[in-house]
Amino acid sequence: MRIGVFVCHCGSNIAATVDCPAVAEQAKNLQDVVFTTDTMYTCSEPGQNEIIEAIKEHNLDGVVVASCSPRMHEATFRRALERAGLNRYMLEMANIREHVSWIGKDKERNTVKAFELVSIAAAKLRNNNPLFANKFDVTKRVLVIGGGVAGIQAALDCADAGYQVVMVEREQSIGGKMAKIDKTFPTVDCSSCILGPKMVDVAQHENITLYAMSEVEKIEGYVGNFDVQVRKKATYVNWDDCTGCGACMEKCPSKKNLDAFNEGISKCTAINIPFPQAIPKKAAINPEGCMMLKKGKCGVCAKVCPTKCIDFEQKDEILTEKVGAVIAATGYDMFDHSVYKQYGAGQYPDVITSLQYERLMNASGPTGGHIKRPSDGKEPKKVVFVQCVGSRDPAVGRPYCSGFCCMYTAKQAILTKDHIPDSDSYVFYMDIRSPGKGYDEFTRRAQEQYGVQYLRGRVSMIYPKGDHYVVRGADTLAGTQVEVEADLVVLAVGAESAKNAPALAEKMRISYDSYGFFMEAHPKLKPVETNTAGVYLAGSCVGPRDIPTSVGQGSAAAAKVMTLFSKDKLESDPQVSSVNASRCVGCLKCAKTCPFGAIKEVTDRGGNVKAEVIETVCQGCGICTVTCPQGAIQLQHFTDNQILAEVNALCQAQLDF
């Protein structure tokens, strides 16, 4: 091998505390080093040209650059090598700036250290091999999981860009939480008025295929080439023919079923369309309530259906789709406040959740927008809002802030005053978190303009007294215990990860935190990417998000997908693991520890089990290399021999000749 060593002065950044010419001179003695030099700015145009010329002139097949951090300029120098016709992986860098010149003033010791870092780099380089990227096709279709506002936005952006979109929605209609909300903060405009048109766009867009009442069963493959199985749950209604006329709902005798869309504050029929603006507007039978499905008697809906689309024999259906990218926008669920025994454990009819309250206020809700107590239908005059129910409370395993409760509580308090002008509202809060455009002004308006009384303190107990409730809590500002009598108590429940989110994460081979929220590839710099290439995130599946953030992330994820799809072929990073089949004993421990599912079991010609790396899925972490007891699976560019060469260069005693 013929190695060239380039020691950069970085102006005086390195040269001030490292004797660069001495490092270059000493490096001449290293094995296989045939050329060394020191340059003022190696990364500059002339500096790079010097490398290129030296490669050609001295017939180099490997280069060590001693300069700044590889995190800074590795890509730069790799390109320089390529321009000179060398493989980009025949470069090693010695970080003599951040790790040497900038952290020590002793020039003599710095110089020794710099030389030794060059030695390590050269020792590793002697074990480097040219690596080549594989090219593969991209299926330019995207799967969007979840039809909430984030998913809708992502789907519409991708579809508008001309890509096919497959949207999978677990519920009967898309729209998500936003569809249930009455008004949005801080503008207090009608939620369904702004969401509705987008939902219609989804239904009508020629590039979008929507599967409602469906869930992702399985995802296999890798970026650009995912095979997705979708389970389309039985609705007992042939949706191709259903017109959403609602005739069935009118005649259905089973009318006491849980109305999930209305958060359980009202009942609905067994065959149902959840709300008038539902997309798709199709009826579905709840098998738990349907007399025909339970007892084989009834069938009224089938009789009244004008298109004869009722099918009691319908079964779940598995569909397969090929996509190149996945956007997960599975949203969140509401915290179940029944764990709070002191708040009545969900047993008091007039202690309700904030989302139930939204349905009470909503004109399309069960009360037609009139606020009525669930217990007796009376209009409440005193409404107490309790914040941080299931937020910022380690005792219930929810130490995080759900972020948006402060805002919606203020909104609900304001709306309460709008609906019932002679009412009084009280809010128990811990802190008011209102960062955002117009947010703080909004909470202030609730207090100052609408006279909502904010009490800073936790509520310790709610108990019924006569036909109303006593809310006992602390007022930490006044330093007293307070008791407020309420006709209705609204618990501002926090957000938690969607049910089954961990299971879905495992299907997508992405990670999730201990609360079940999906992990982004980097919380700051890669907020919508995951560690699995081709899988992106949007909205509250990552953590509680308000509407504008969710919409923004939907667009961001769509933009990532479009970037991915802008290429006809993808290149896989060759710094991935590779199995030496002749050493592999097929124990498959590597496959068991791979976080990405990048290792599969194969059988060789002799019938022996071997491990094989799916190069496009492998992310190059090297966990497998450590797991493999035979050292048969090696992470390219960071092989055992490469790292051992570095260790030996540092520690091994040199034999006297």
Binding site: N95, E98, I103, D106, K113, P595, G622, V647, Q652, Q654
Partner: protein
């Protein structure tokens, strides 16, 4: 095999080998550099993609070959670039850490920790305190000697060879 030590000049710096993951700790060390946080010069860093790539045996190899200390750092648990690498690393490294004592290699010579890319200050603290610790411990005892001809034997050989041709019974045959 006696011979000069590896690269590190004896007497001056100690041989401290660092294994740093590319995404967090190597970045943290860079951050410390950018901020000009002064550190002892003894540490030599080997960059690996992930702490999950660090085979405890690399550390064993370094310590057996004569390293005075080994410092490993990765992303904080939960912040692994590869999601799970440092979770595996934590278990593997902890096992080694606790095991070392039985081999007679002072476990204090090995330390593993977590430093994020933003924690330049912390990196400085980690390097400084670890280097101080190793300085206190001094150079590590070295493994030497082969089978058969052991240390004692080598001395004997030297003595015998110095006698050379004086050896009475060999003169005959020569």
């Amino acid at each position: 095999m006696s011979g000069s030590t590896g690269l590190l000049t004896e007497g001056q710096d100690l041989r401290i080998v660092g294994f740093l993951c590319n995404w967090c700790s190597y970045g943290g060390a860079d951050t410390a550099g950018v901020a000009r946080f002064e550190q002892p010069t003894d540490l030599r860093v080997i960059r690996v993609p992930c702490s999950g790539r660090i085979d405890p045996l690399f550390i064993a190899r370094a310590l057996l070959s004569g390293a005075d200390g080994v410092l490993v750092s990765g992303c904080h648990p939960r912040d692994c670039h590869y999601a799970e690498g440092n979770f595996y690393a934590r278990r593997r490294l902890e096992m080694l850490k606790q095991f070392l004592s039985v081999t007679g290699i002072d476990p204090e010579r090995f330390h593993y920790t977590w430093v994020s890319a933003s924690e330049g200050q912390r990196w400085q603290d980690v390097v400084t305190s670890f280097t101080e610790r190793i300085r206190k411990l001094g150079p590590a005892p070295k493994m030497s000697g082969g089978t058969g001809y052991d240390e004692e034997c080598l001395k004997e050989i030297a003595a015998a060879v110095s006698l050379g041709e004086q050896c009475p019974c060999h003169k005959e045959k020569a």
